[in-house]
Structure formats: C-alpha cells, structure tokens
Symmetry: C2
Subunit: 531 residues, 2 copies
C-alpha cells in the first residue's frame, strides 16, 4: 500500500469489535474451556446479584446437546432480576453495568462477561440470547444481540406480564463448544464453586439428562462485604482531580477529602495542613490543579493511615475451607491461614487466605501437588501458567518445610485472593497479575500454612526415627536379657520384661503420631514472619 | 445497598476507563516492565510505519532520569510521520488506527499501544505527551492527553511549520517506572529487537548518558508482507453476513465471494453451486440471510482450498537467525527450521520458524535452557508462564533428542510466530494464547530443529565412545607388539607401528567430530512427522 493511502485506512473501533476479534482474551479458546467460561460468567453474575439482594442463591444450570459441538445453555437464578430498562445493556453491551466503578468485593468487576457470552452465541449461531427477567412483579422476556460497531444492545421484547417470581433466566445457543466432565469442564467448575460457596444450592443438568445437585451446606449468606470509599493510599493524582472536579456536595477541599475517602478524618485533614502549608485546603475542590493534587497525594504517603476496613473484604473462612478440604481429601493434616487485609498499588484493599491439605486421601489421588486457585470465591481453572498464585506456590522453597518435591507429594494448596478489585491479567479473569504486594501476601499465607504441615511431617519423621531405633535395640533384648540373667542369677523372662519396659519408657512416643500435631488444623493468622 | 438502588448504579464505561483501571492488562505492572512496555509500544509502531512506507528504519530512544522512578522518554523515527488530522487519535484514542481491521502482518494490531502510553504518562505525571510529526512537508507539534470518559484525544497544537524532514518524535514523562539493564529492561528489549530486525539501526541513550548503537547489518528492508483478503476457511457466518451487508461493488453473491476472499476463484464458485443447490448464488449479497450464510460457511469446509499466500507472511529468515545466533552464542551446533504457512481458527494464516543453538558459548552462559520468543519479529520478554511458545517447549520430550534436562543444558531455543493476527492472551501482547493449531506448529518446528541437534549430539557421543575404545585398546599395543615380535621374529617397532595403523584405520573418526554434522545448519522445512 502506498504511503499516501495509509491514513485512509484509519478507523475507530468499538470494544465489542475488539473482543470479537480477540475472543481468546475473554477466555474463549478451546471448546471445553469456552463452555466453562460461559457458565462461569452467568453463574458469577447470578451469585453477585443474589448476595447483593440478600437472597440465598439457588442456581440452575442445564446444558443440552443440539448437535456436534452445539449446545443450548440455560442458567436460572432466584436473584432480584433486571428491570426492562437495563436488561439489554446488562446482556448486550460491553463495559456497562453496576460493577465496574464500585469499590466493592464482587465476583464480576468489568461489565463484560455476560455480554461476551451474548456475543459468542451470536457469532457462532446467529441466534439472539433469550432473557426472562422477573423484577419487582413484572416479567419481561426479550431476545438480545449486539450491534458490534456501536457496542450497543439490540433488544426485541417478546412479552411482558405480571409475576410473583423473581430472578433471571438466560437461554442461549452456542457452537464451537463442548461439554466434558474433565478438569476444565462445567462440572468441575461448579463443584469448585460449591466448595467455596457453601451457602449456594447449585443444580446441574448434564447433556445426558443426569441431574447433579451441589446442595447448600450453610444456611446463611456470608457477611455482605461493604462498599467502601477509596483509601487515600490508593489514589492517583489523576483520580483525585477527577473526584474533585465531579464533586458537588462540598465547597471546601477539606470537606471533600473527608467525604471522598475512607479513613480520612478531620484530624487527618489537620495533619495534611501541617504537611502542606502552601496548599489552601479551604478553597473549592473544583479549583484544585494538578500540582496541588500531586502534593496532596504525596502528603497522603507521609500520614499514618488505618488499614482499609476489614468488613470490606469477606474471605471464604477457616471453618469452611477446613470442612471442604476434609470432605474432599480426608487429609492427614490440614492447615488454614487467613492473613489480615493489606493494600496493593498503594491502596487497593485485598487479603489472602490459604489452606494446605497433606496425606490421607491425597496419597492415592491421581493429581499430586494440586493448586486450587480462587479469587473472591470464584474458582480459577485456566491460565495457571501466567498466574501469580501458581507462580508463588511453584517457586516457594518447599524443601524448608520438609516437602521435597511439591509436584510429587500428596499435597493440595488452596489460595483465595479477596479484593475490591482483583488485578486479572486479562478480561477473561482466570489469572492474577504478578503485583508485588499481592505475591508477597500469597507467599506469606502459604508459608504460614506450610509451617503447620512441616510440624506434622517432622513429628511423623521423628516418630518414624524413634520406632526404627526401638526396633533395632529391641533385637538385642533377648540376647542381653539371657546374658544379664546368667550374670545376675535372675530369671531371663523377668530381665527381658524389665529391659523392654525401659525401652518402652525411653521411646514412649515411638510409633504413635504426636497427638498435638495430629489435632492441629490452624495457625494463628496475621503476623507471619518474612523470609 | 438496598435492592431498589442497584440499578441506579448502572453506568456505561469507555475502553479508556477500562484500561485505566486495568493497566496490568496492557502490561503495565512493575516499574522496570512498565518502561520496557512503553518503549516496546513506540518502537513497534515506528518500525511498522517505516516498513509500510518502504523506509529503512532508524530509531532513536533516549531515557532521561528526572527523579526517583521518574523519567522522560524520547522515541524518534524516520518514518512517514502522521498527518495533523490523525496525530491526536493515533496517540490519544484507544482502538483507533490503521491496523486493527487489516489482514496484514504487522507488529501492532490493536490500535491501543501508543494511546496506552499517553494514558500512563498522564496518569502518573499529569503531563501531556508531546508529538512532533513531520508528514509531507509539514511539521506539527502538539500536546496530547486523553479524555477517559469519552475515549477521545485532547489535542493542543503548539506549532506548525514547513519541513523537509519526515518522521515522528514522541516525548513523554513517566513516573512509577525504572530503567535497569536487566533481562527485562529496555536495553535487552532493544537488543533482541535488533537481533530479529537487522535492517534497523537503533540508538539508545541510557540515563547515564551512555550511547549504545545497535547497527544495521542488512541494508534492505525485508520483503513487504502483502495485505491479503480473508481466507474462506477463516470466516464465521457472522463475518460473511457483515461483509455481504456492506458490499457495494457486487450485485451477485457469486461475484462478491470472489472479490471478498482470497483463493476463491470462479471454479470454486462452481464447486459451491454443486454443494449448495438450494442457495441462490446469483441474488444480491445484501439479501443473504443467516441460514444461507451458515450453509455457505459449511460448504467452504468441504472445498479443497489452496493454502493462504506465502507472501502474506514474512519470517525473520534462516540466514538471519543463523547470523544472530552465531554472533551471540558461537554455539557448537545451530539448526534453524522454517515451517510452511498454516492456518488457525479455520483460516487465519500463520507460520512458525524455530532455531536451536547448542554448546559453544552457551556452555559458560549464565542462563541454561533459554527460550527466546518473538511474534512478527517483536521480542516477547514477559508473561512467559502463560505463553503457548514456552508451554510447548517446556513440555517437549527432550529426552528423545538426547537432551536430558532442558533447563540445565547449554541450549537456546528461538521461536518466531508470524501471522496477520497473532492470538495474544491479553492487550499487553506478551504471550501467545494456546490455540491448538498454533501449538502444533510450534512443536513441529522445534522438533525438526531438535533432530539436527540430536544428530550432532549422537555424533559427538559416538566419537567419544570410539576415542575411549581406541585408548583402551592402545594400552595393549606395546605389550602385544613385544609378544608378536618375539613370536614372529619381527622388530617390535615395526609391529607396534602396524598395530597402531590398524587401530587408527578401524576407528578413524574417533576423536574428530563428524564434519557432516558440524556443518549442518538446517533441516528441510515442511513435512515434519508427528509424535
């Protein structure tokens, strides 16, 4: 193409066109994986909606085979539903929704997933996605597709009627997908979802009509994570200026700061005044310029802040992880740790919980050295190679914890990363980006848990050593008893009994496992030492 | 938040806001990596622009340290420049550009990178990015930032003047970045760029003012890859309908098909007519419906097509990879393979070339088992864990090729994936998605090269075995010669000489390397056997 013509080729594209061409970035690569990704997107949305509305989630998933690599998928929830005004955008417009801009721990955080499924269905079958949404007494049924050029939903309303139900049902056809009961299939995804979400009831109807129920084992939703304001340490100069520009409630920067940020009290404003004598905190926030905003952001770094509120982050929890691990693996030892909340990139709150199971049912398990990754209770099945969780676990010096070769040991490690914004490596949300602060906490959580396992292993080894010694010494008892009996004139039987008792007393723990280690299932959380 | 209020939180977001919040998806995570990513985005754009305009690229990169983790970066090229009308969009609007929609092998393919740098600069310093663009006799100087809400450029034109120069210079400040001469730094990135692009001259001025020149070693640009039409096998029903809907030149589907697709001749249309008696190929393309389009796409699968045109894909080339490897590693053996073009996802053309260097300078090298990844000549330094190239190489059964432990051997493997659309795992473009067809070709390319290395290694081992045998037998020569001399009455000297000659003749290759293996630097391409 001649130089003159290059800029005639200049075009602007929508985010829908981008993801249409780069569907692999949404996780749509491979037939089995694609179907799992679709279920993942719908189910996470359903769980978020139920929990936000305070409803105990009941999810129904059905995959019907219509032809070769061709399925109809139904996902039904008992959440609040979506109003008619929003159902098109929620399912047919990328980067639209209630999640992207909120500082709230949720499974979804992009406003892309459901629309990506509508896209994938339409691209592979030409069919719209059918939504039946029962919201506040009205049920709307609509067919939804996407106008790619404009990234806009195309909605055909099929019916409206009054209803006493609530919830959203989505029915869509897909080609280029496949149902399989493999490690990367829908079944495994839902099994792991149930594991981390015991308050959910999930029913799966497989293509062979087999119905699998993952029943609810906890009769209440987990505590609702609170939506928080941004932490002063997590804010960039640009963000601060944007917030200030759009501020309408406060006439003074000082008041604006207290309202816009968490942990920013009047006393902290006074501290800022001392640090920043040349910035007028009493002027109108809209008058803030870049220089002043940058100074404020720098001053934020010098103030001692209270950590982000604990209640903004809700982990799976020790009891639940213990219960799940016990039921799956029946391990010999089980240690769960929960770190206290930290921040990454200066101020985005997150926390890490980790569990390690060793031995027992894992000895015969097909997969050794298993890593089970979760973020905000969502199982991460794919892209393990590029994930900070896997990376951290694989590069840990396991030898320090008496685990010689992680890949070949009967060990399973669970890590759940909880955050108001999980730094995923791509829009497919299957791997965590290697942010330094996040990796450090994952490491500390896993190390803490490892120490518990090590105590068990070293106890077991000690017991083994003692038993060996006892056995070796025991071999000399008859001979020695005979010799001593001859020398002392005592009876051989009596001498032998005495000797045996002495050995038993000396090595009294030999052969038994240390009951203290055996019972241990947890470590104190927080305060982990660094390497 | 009460259920009633959830949908008050419903918002639509721009792709700029998305990447602002998820900068890690653009590769901006970590200080050293972020600076490398910025250089990467600007330099790839410069190289694409120069090559498209037929100019031998001369690139100048300077990083100046302004403060702690605070740098000014200048990137200057001798390309055609950008006209005033487009300079804002090219540097300040995401998903805009000349690349996204074209079927052309280029380094950039998204229209995101340069604007992402403008974003990163603005977010971390509040400063605009300065562009000086000399295009067709006019030099325009402008400051550019991004309006995130609208994903629109904000352009302040600082000056316009006539010029005889051409090219684009970009100057921008960044914080939260760091210059380091590490494996992941700017220096290494440019070194590898030079390795795969010997027609470029690259000058780097480091923060300590040291000037590094990677000189041009080939005095002509590589052949220009041709822009091609989509291959019939790479088209989805949705794409076909979109093309047909926007078709303005052709009144009949038959003519439209011939014009819109590569390798679709009149003879092939006749074949399609035979396969599709019930689809009227003489009607207007705009009247095509989903069902008919789907039938046509299915019929495409039944026709035997010529593979995509070779000249749409331009590899680095055997000579160049050999020259580069020799100059870096001085290896004992060096094998380069080039596979013939294939398609993935049904019809996106791609090809793989691979090179393996073994021994020589690699024996003393710090890094064993090195993998050097490239896509369209661009070095991929990051996200190796999630990359199809790394994955394929690490899981190869190297033992079959006499390479016992890849990670500990003096071996370096280069893979370059060439395609009109590389399936990257994320917008940061540092890892290749594990598409089955692509992984298969990578495997075959590396296996072919491995066989060459194996011949060398087995030759070397054979030589070693022979030398050992010779040495052992040699020990008996004096004694045997003496005994034989006594028996035969001959002179011991003469017998010893004769015996030595017999041994030398029998093991004549011992100790020497097989000259055939030594010289071998390539395998026949194509036709690789499967595992």
């Amino acid at each position: 193409m001649a130089e003159e013509d290059i800029f005639k080729q200049f075009r602007e594209h929508s985010v829908a066109e981008f993801f249409k061409k780069n569907r692999q970035m949404l996780g749509f690569s491979g037939k089995v994986r694609s179907l799992t990704m679709i279920v993942h997107e719908f189910v996470t949305n359903s769980l978020d909606a139920c929990e936000e509305a305070g409803v105990l989630p009941e999810i129904f998933v059905q995959a019907e085979e219509l032809g070769s690599d061709h399925y109809r998928l139904t996902v039904k929830d008992n959440g609040p539903g979506i109003p008619k005004s929003h159902v098109g955008k929620a399912l047919g417009q990328m980067l639209a929704g209630t999640k992207f801009h909120r500082y709230l721990q949720q499974r979804g955080q992009q406003g892309i997933g459901a629309s990506a499924c509508t896209m994938f269905s339409y691209l592979t079958t030409g069919q719209p996605t059918k939504a039946m949404s029962s919201y506040k007494g009205k049920k709307v049924t609509a067919n939804i597709t996407i106008d790619f050029k404009g990234n806009k939903p195309v909605v055909e309303v099929l019916g409206e009627e009054p209803t006493e139900d609530r919830g959203l049902t989505v029915v869509a056809e897909f080609k280029d997908v496949r149902y399989e009961r493999s490690n990367y299939g829908v079944y495994e995804y839902l099994r792991r979802t149930a594991l981390a979400n015991p308050h959910c009831s999930i029913t799966l109807v497989e293509p062979n009509k087999e119905q699998v129920v993952f029943p609810r084992s906890v009769q209440a939703n987990p505590p609702r994570p609170f939506e928080i304001k941004p932490h002063p340490l997590g804010i960039s100069t640009h963000d601060l200026l944007e917030f200030a520009k759009h501020n309408k409630e406060n006439r003074k920067i000082s008041a604006f700061l207290q309202n816009a940020f968490s942990r920013l009290s009047a006393a902290k404003v006074d501290e800022l005044r001392t640090i920043l004598p040349d910035v007028d905190l009493d002027k109108d926030p809209t008058e803030l310029d870049w220089n002043e905003a940058e100074k404020i952001v720098k001053a934020f770094q010098q103030v001692k802040w209270i950590a982000p509120a604990m209640d903004s982050l809700v982990p799976i929890g020790k009891e639940q992880i213990e219960a799940s691990f016990t039921s799956i693996f029946s391990p010999d030892v089980l240690v769960v740790t929960e770190r206290s909340p930290k921040v990454y990139r200066g101020g985005i709150p997150f926390m890490v919980e980790a569990g390690i199971a060793y031995g027992g049912g894992l000895v015969g398990a097909e997969k050794k050295g298993e890593v089970m990754r979760f973020s905000n209770r969502v199982p991460l099945l794919f892209d393990s190679g590029g994930c900070a969780i896997t990376e951290t676990i694989k590069t840990l010096d396991w030898g320090r914890y008496d685990i010689k070769n992680f890949e070949n040991e009967p060990i399973a490690v669970l890590v759940n990363l909880v955050s108001v914004h999980v730094p995923y490596t791509s829009a497919g949300k299957q791997a965590v980006s290697p942010e330094e602060d996040v990796m450090e906490e994952i490491k500390l959580a896993v190390m803490e848990a490892s120490r518990g396992v090590q105590r068990y292993l070293s106890g077991k080894r000690k017991a083994h050593d003692i038993a060996t010694k006892k056995k070796v010494i025991g071999r000399y008892v008859p001979q020695l008893a005979g010799d001593l009996a001859t020398l002392s004139g005592d009876k051989k039987d009596r001498v032998e009994k005495l000797l045996t008792r002495i050995i038993e007393e000396k090595y009294q723990d030999g052969g038994d496992e240390d009951p203290e280690t055996k019972q241990e299932t947890s470590e104190e959380s927080g305060g982990g030492e660094e390497e």
